[in-house]
Amino acid sequence: MNENNRVWWILFLVGGGALLVRAATTEFGKSYARDQTVYVTVEGGTAEVDAVPGLPTAESDAAHPDAARWTRSLAADPGERDDPHVRFSWADTIGLWCAALLTLAIFSFLFGDNPGYRLAEAIFVGVSAGYAMIAGFWEGIVQLLLAKLIPVATKEHFLPGLEPDPRWADDWARYQSGDLGYVAAEWAATTLLSLVPLVFGVMLLMRLSPKGGWISRWPLAFFIGATAGLRLIVHFESDFIRQIQATLLPLIVFKEDNSFDLAQTLANVTIVVGVLSSLVYFFFSKEHEGVFGGVSRLGIWFLMITFGASFGYTVMGRITLFAQRLEFLFDDWLWIIDPLQRRAGL
């Protein structure tokens, strides 16, 4: 047994032992849920929603004839468990333990690679890839593609809130009055245009065929071209023009009563000198020697201050996240602390 393995075993046994001791002496790691029954009646485009606490009963059903009904389980704090509609939840308790153990597994990577981390990594890659694809399906394909290509069916099954393109109503009137050219133009502008991404998609998927791979470059080229065009404009405007505009500053500043404002003067001079010297650092076509080299050196110093400041400033956010994970372990899982008073009265 090498030293690493020994440390793992010790950590594992100590941790497990502590959990057992805690379990024997006090409660922790339980999740509760509040049941709610929702009755919905829809009349004339508005919904009447009645959320009744607890699971459905004969009385609550009788009180809502002709209403659609479903149940919801909402998160409840352990402190509320005396409430008759709050119950112990297996699903959330198992979830809580999964979350806690996965948190520990990721933390274990700090000590070194180990089977726990590899398992967490495997789950993470699978779940997050699935998550991204599901989001892409419902939000990209259904909302952006199907809603335009087959609006009626999409509205019927997936997006009841989808409002028909107002142009269609108009088109029907124009069609009847014989204005076919207009209708054709509108049709091209809506339906045909929404076919473009589908065609691109098919071209892209041609990669899967042994011979058609080259055609998948067309959509890629289209979007790389679009990216180049769009980014060129946006960045030139907001990062070049606007930043230069913001750097036009008076190098001497007076207060309203005409007295000299030293602090603001220094600040303005520093900003202008800093921007100019850092720009000099980025010059490619001139050797950084002599005066030019000196200014460029000053530019590097400004960049170093910028980096140091950003680094120091960022630390705070990282520690917050870290603290939050530890809080999750101590509060939600182990019930050692209770800063939000969620187990008050337990």
Binding site: G45, V234, M316, G317, I319, I336
Partner: protein, 286 residues
């Protein structure tokens, strides 16, 4: 001693970090905050709006950064509701919807007078990254057919006449990255002169400073700014001083202090090692 430290396994640094953050959490130590001018600027942007102003609350973050950003979103929500503003929630992040729910819960629980659809509304998730910003700026109905609960926008007083967000009195953005604060500045606040404040992660904040004050009214950067904001709020509205929930940021500052001191200590020790080794000459280094 120096030899031990210079060959220190970085895992000891990690362990020290666990202690530095874990101990204040367990002991619950808390410190007071002195609000900076930047934070007061953000506070005034919401405070000085006439009551009943329209505020677009764009919460563009996900669970992975909620530790830093949730206190800001909560404080913004409480402040706007306290001032009686009309709040429109939306997010550009697919995982942002549950984040909006947290703010909605605050409104529901702490401001029972607020009526959904009349005083606040949840427009939900807008797919399309920065394209979605362009969409809500030009033609909101093209982006949101309904609110997040499936209500038609025409059925609610708050959204009935809403065609785009160009006439919002204030744009409040809580942002964990792209798309977020920068894109809102570029595509909404700058071209349409909408007043805007933002709360961001510490990483992002520096890249937003250049936009102040012309394109952006103020930035809350990182948890410290959130804590300072809570401090200003609890001075202006004493009820927040008594609520534990309204002090999430302040509570989180305890671990910050100790962990920062650890970092500073590490940098000092690192340099001491460096200078001692250098004075020993070239043979002293590994």
């Amino acid at each position: 001693m120096i030899d031990v430290l210079s060959n220190l396994d970085r895992r000891w640094v990690f362990a020290a970090m666990f202690v530095a953050v874990g101990w204040p959490i367990l002991s619950g130590v808390r410190f007071k905050e002195e609000p900076s001018e930047g934070v007061r600027r953000v506070f005034r942007a919401i405070e000085d709006l006439p009551e009943g102003s329209t505020v677009l609350m764009a919460l563009d973050y996900d669970p992975s950064s909620q530790g830093e950003l949730q206190p800001m979103a909560s404080a913004f929500t409480r402040h706007a509701a306290e001032r009686g503003h009309k709040i429109y929630f939306m997010t550009l992040w697919p995982a942002g919807s549950p984040m909006i729910e947290r703010s909605l819960r605050i409104v529901e629980q702490e401001y029972p007078d607020y009526v959904y659809g009349e005083d606040y509304v949840n427009l939900g998730y807008a797919p399309g990254l920065e394209g979605a910003i362009k969409a809500v700026v030009d033609d909101l109905r093209g982006q949101f057919a309904t609110d997040a609960r499936g209500n038609s926008l025409d059925s609610m007083p708050l959204t009935e006449g809403l065609r785009n967000i160009q006439n919002m009195d204030l744009l409040v953005n809580v942002s964990a990255g792209d798309p977020g604060a920068k894109q809102w500045v570029q595509y909404a606040a700058t071209p349409h002169d909408i007043a805007m404040v933002t709360g961001t992660t510490g990483v992002q904040a520096p890249s937003l400073y250049p936009y102040i004050p012309e394109q952006l009214d103020g930035v809350l950067g990182a948890i410290k700014a959130a804590a300072e904001y809570e401090q200003v709020l609890s001075v202006a509205y004493p009820k927040f001083a008594e609520s534990v929930k309204a002090q999430e940021g302040l509570r989180r500052m305890g671990p910050q202090l100790v962990a920062h001191l650890l970092m500073i200590g590490l940098i000092v020790v690192g340099n001491v090692i460096y200078f001692v080794e250098r004075s020993r000459g070239p043979g002293g280094r590994r």
